[in-house]
């Protein structure tokens, strides 16, 4: 804010500057307007059309809250609210604790192999959420190799959903928790030691309070992810209805779009709540560390270190085990009657879901999403961060940019059908094309990318803009010469985040693909749906391997580029 004020001040003082800058500002401001309008079209309007659909009947007349009343009075439907909340609650409890102890082990203990653990524990993020579910079928299904461990309980139902959901939401939780626990003031621990506090007391009075906001934030994120996920309950939920599968059933099974919209709106509520809480927390957390803080360095503690190592080994073992089971299952010829290994399940062309073409489509979609998405998001964030003036516009832009975080993919996908397939929408020609998939995926994952870009841009001194302005360098050149190179690591992060998510996402695109744009992740779902579980596992494994490849490329580029462009960080 201050920076903006000073630049406007200087420009008003020096007359010739105004012309120079205002031409610049005009051009960039236009781009900002176009960008904001793009968000209106791709995010705000579709959601509006979804909301209006939920208060209409089949004929399109306004019926008020009738659909909601119907939903709440149909026992088989309303029971899914209870189920969803229950599952989300249990998963939140499990994942938050697991993530806390893993982050604690990595940041606060002296266990060996930290790098390796970090690598393994975030592996699930590279696989579609369907992969753990399919793997569980092979582990604990009626022909599962570990079936006895369930003592006669069925994996198809809450147990399966909980294990599967915990698996894929864990890395998300871990990453937030690692950040939350990485910042801590060593002086507090020294004081505790000097005052003779026991380790347990130190943990309760120093460690936990400092991580408080991180823990709450993780809890909300996991809750939302689980309640809005659709892949895991679809594959392993059996007859256990949840909200997310209800939408799918209403829309796909009964062609009841209005009820689908109604359930979507209900699903929107917890997500919006989470989102608001998270905003509120972020505002509180900023002032936690003062400039006088001394970074904490863990000291060896034999018992705590041993327990942590054991914990990390078990957790990594479970994650690797679930992944390897899926890999093995995809290679077995005909489970369980012919256990010889073959690549038979990789002959996708004989199955539902679009065959190998869907894999190439996914690659293409992910590449477009990564390239176009990164360029658009980063440039828009730059304008929002560094362009002077346009206060109102920026306010709206910020609002629209964080909105997608509160919109579950399934809801967004449905909103896209309503909005983009309306006959009077001039954009309806993109319905059923690759374009709509790319646009939808970028919108779906917009917020995290936007935040990454903004954070990186905030670290650059606004002086660069004012100095280049006084040197009469157009701002776009400053962007190209300074901001972009300095933020390259963030740009790479965004691109790789978009690529991986575009490869693995199912929820939004499941309503939007068409004959020549079938996607690999959707093919996993469709193959499982048709009972071809082994080929579904094979495709899920293929997606995971691809995402690992993307991460390796990211790491390589990042490492090479870091050396060239980031040396200014060092002194």
């Amino acid at each position: 804010m201050e920076a903006t004020l000073t630049t406007t001040d200087t420009s008003s003082q020096k007359q010739p500057l105004i012309r120079r800058r205002s031409w610049d500002e005009w051009a960039l401001g236009c781009m900002m307007i176009v960008g904001t309008l793009a968000l209106v079209v791709t995010i705000v309007l579709p959601i509006y059309s979804l909301l209006s659909k939920s208060v209409q009947n089949r004929e399109g007349n306004f019926v008020g809250l009738e659909n909601f009343t119907l939903f709440l009075t149909t026992p088989s439907l309303s029971s899914s609210i209870g189920h969803s909340v229950f599952l989300a609650f249990v998963c939140t409890l499990i994942v938050t604790s697991l993530a806390f102890f893993s982050a604690y082990a990595i940041n606060r203990t002296c266990i060996p192999l930290k790098g390796m653990f970090r690598l393994i524990l975030v592996l699930p993020i590279l696989s579609p959420s369907l992969l753990p579910a399919i793997s569980l079928v092979y582990l604990f299904g009626n022909q599962g190799i570990l079936k006895e461990l369930l003592f006669g309980e069925s994996i198809y139902g809450p147990i399966g959903i909980i294990i599967g959901s915990c698996f894929w939401t864990f890395p998300h939780a871990l990453m937030i928790m690692l950040t939350a626990l990485s910042k801590s003031d060593a002086r507090l621990y020294e004081s505790a030691e000097v005052l003779g506090a026991s380790p347990w007391r130190t943990f309760v009075t120093v460690t936990l309070p400092a991580a408080k906001y991180g823990i709450i934030s993780v809890a909300f994120v996991v809750f939302t992810l689980v309640i809005t996920d659709f892949g895991v309950p679809k594959v392993i939920g059996g007859q256990y209805n949840v909200l997310a599968t209800d939408i799918y059933k209403q829309v796909i099974g009964q062609q009841n779009f209005e009820m689908g919209a109604t359930v979507s709106v209900i699903l929107l509520l917890p997500a919006v709540l989470t989102f608001l809480t998270d905003r509120w927390l972020q505002r509180r957390q900023s002032a936690q560390l003062t400039s006088k803080a001394v970074p904490f360095a863990p000291k060896p503690r034999p018992l705590a270190d041993k327990l942590s190592l054991l914990f990390m080994l078990v957790l990594s073992g479970v994650i690797i085990g679930i992944i390897l089971m899926a890999v093995y299952a995809s290679l077995v010829t005909f489970w369980p009657y012919n256990l010889s290994l073959s690549l038979k399940n990789y002959q996708f062309d004989l199955m539902d879901g679009g065959g190998w073409a869907s894999y190439w489509n996914s690659l293409q979609m992910a590449a477009y999403t990564a390239v176009i998405g990164t360029l658009f998001i980063f440039f828009q964030s730059y304008l929002a961060e560094k362009l002077s003036g346009y206060g109102v516009l920026k306010g709206f832009f910020q609002l629209f940019a964080i909105l997608p975080l509160a919109v579950p993919g399934l809801v967004l996908g449905l909103a896209y059908i309503f909005f983009f397939n309306a006959p009077n929408n001039p954009l309806n020609s993109i319905y059923g094309t690759m374009t709509i998939l790319v646009v939808c995926t970028i919108s779906h994952f917009y917020t995290v990318c936007h935040m990454t870009a903004s954070t990186a841009l905030k670290q650059i001194d606004p002086e660069f803009e004012s100095v280049s302005a006084s040197l009469k360098v157009p701002q776009i050149i400053t962007f190209w010469r300074v901001s972009l190179p300095v933020c390259l690591p963030a740009v790479l992060d965004i691109a790789s985040y978009l690529f991986v998510n575009a490869m693995t996402t199912v929820s939004a695109v499941v309503f939007l693909y068409s004959y020549n744009t079938t996607l690999a992740s959707v093919a996993v779902l469709n193959m499982d749906d048709a009972g071809d579980i082994a080929p579904a596992a094979a495709m899920a494994v293929l997606i995971m391997v691809t995402c690992m490849g993307a991460r390796v490329v990211h790491w390589f580029l990042g490492d090479v580029l870091l050396k060239h462009t980031q040396s200014w960080h060092k002194r």
Binding site: P75, F334, L350, N361, G531
Partner: protein, 343 residues
Amino acid sequence: MNKKTLAKCFTTFAGFAALSMTSVHAAQTELTVYTAIEAEDLKKYAARFNEDHPEIKINWVRDSTGIVTAKLLAEKDNPQADVVWGLAATSLMLLDGENMLQSYKPKGYDKLSPKFKDRSEEPVWTGMDAWMAAVCYNTVEAEKLGLPKPTSWQDLTKPIYKDHIIMPNPNSSGTGYLDVSSWLQLFGEKDGWAFMDGLHQNINRYTHSGSKPCKLAASGEIPIGISFAFRAAKSKKSGAPLDIVFPTEGLGWDMEATSIVKGTDKLKAAQTLVDWTVSKKANEMYNEGYAVVAMPGVAKPVEFFPANAEELMIDNDFAWSAQNRDKILAQWQQRFDSKSESK
């Protein structure tokens, strides 16, 4: 995919020669065809059609019956499909009720058996083949569990089968719906629901697709899967330890049928395709997987199908089945869809 992109590049960047090449390419009409035909057959169907009509290219959109129907309804105001080839007749009747289908009497319409065509003045759909209910029984798993082989639908309500049966959810699966509608027709409204109440006690879970129960039975996930004969025969052929049971009371069935979507801008090509789908050659092709086809006298026995397949099929009242679909599904959902609740 790659070829298409290449072709596009040529048109944009290369000269006259490339342009003339694309004009040859453009002479090929592309039809968007929605279907619920089993995935492994799609290539064969298109290839056989292209033997006679290389000028028309088929772009398939395949999904299970409920999903294709939902997609068509969703796109009602802005249809994407030109032709529907291979969707349940009851679904087509539903779409016809929404006034979405183009009436057309294809060449060869008269040669089809009356059961397999829309007999109104201006017919909108023609049948291809019948797909009928069947029960997949995994002999290996059933022996482990000591389950006798069922022979009738009523057998499946016996307590011994508790939690050992999977069937498709009629809300999403065409096979599921034909089962439910056939039970209501066979046993009467009251006894039909009573039968389903009994069956429900034994159901392990309901799946979304009609082929999944049989595939699950084939892989031993469940000993008994209620599915359809085509899938059962295919799974048995691929080496699964299956016995296929055709319950003695009679088999529910629906037919796969074809229609032109109203509003298509490629009407001529669409009509050519529909003409072909009722031809003798097409019917012989259907017969490779299905025992009962639309053209009388064509069908030869199919491996693992009973020789008297047509006699086993109930006298299905399609009009009743299509008209009451919403009501039956709502009733079904209210009774059974919250299975885990009652547990």
